[in-house]
């Protein structure tokens, strides 16, 4: 079964890190992606640019409107995701707890819904 691990972080804390700390954090994250790939858990993983790079799109009565910034103003911001294949929710939680950024932020784990025609 597929699960998405949504990584929420306080962007200000992340940007306050020294280059060395940020590099170590990136290296550790990439190493974990690699470990998940080898273990057959990894489907896709990506970091996101900060929320100020977001654009929010809405379509109402066929009319498109866009606004700058993220949809949800939250204390912590979505900083990336890891899409995994896991046996069940407990297995997915085990995987999520080892995401290096779980020590700095929060990881939301949610099962994927298969859409069927």
């Amino acid at each position: 079964m597929k699960y998405v691990c949504l990584v929420y972080l306080v962007e200000e804390e992340m940007s306050a890190m020294t280059k060395r700390e940020a590099d170590a954090c990136t290296d550790e994250s990439l190493a974990y992606d690699e470990a998940l790939r080898k273990a057959g858990h990894l489907v896709a993983a990506h970091a996101l640019q900060p929320v100020e790079a977001a654009t929010t799109v809405r379509v109402r009565n066929g009319k498109l409107s866009t606004t700058d910034g993220p949809f949800a103003e939250t204390k912590e911001q979505l900083g990336g995701f890891v899409l995994i294949e896991a046996r069940d929710l407990n297995d997915a939680i085990q995987v999520a707890a080892k995401i290096p950024l779980a020590r700095r932020g929060s990881i939301e784990v949610r099962p994927i819904k298969k859409l069927v025609r």
Binding site: A24, A47, T56, A102, S106, E108, I112, K113, L115
Partner: protein
């Protein structure tokens, strides 16, 4: 360049749809998947189960704590996501606007950050 679409909608709006209306929405979402696959934009996409099925995990001092429910309580709930390839933000937003369920919710479009080993 890679972009992520985060689809937010009010789950109550979706739950109020009849079975037929819901199936029409699902079919239109799957048609859209096919369409952006053909146009070369598609990388991966997934719908998510309801926010109440989520668990949130934190690790502090080597100890993991798990709580039920999503991390963020928002007016709209994250219902799915797409990862796409587009030339720039304008093209990404134009692709996002074609997603049929955008009529019911909103789509946050965010560029991906490529991580590189130091």
């Amino acid at each position: 360049m890679k972009f992520m679409f985060m689809i937010y909608h009010d789950e109550k709006t979706l739950e109020a749809l009849s079975e037929g209306e819901m199936q029409t929405l699902v079919d239109s979402a799957l048609d859209y998947d096919d369409e952006i696959r053909r146009s070369g934009h598609y990388i991966v996409s997934n719908a998510l189960q309801r926010a109440r099925t989520a668990r949130t995990i934190r690790v502090r001092g080597g100890k993991a704590t798990t709580t039920d429910g999503p991390f963020a309580e928002t007016k709209g709930q994250l219902g799915g996501f797409f990862l796409i390839e587009a030339k720039d933000m304008d093209e990404a937003c134009a692709v996002a606007a074609r997603f049929p369920p955008a009529r019911l919710g909103i789509i946050e479009v965010r560029p991906v950050r490529e991580l590189q080993h130091s």
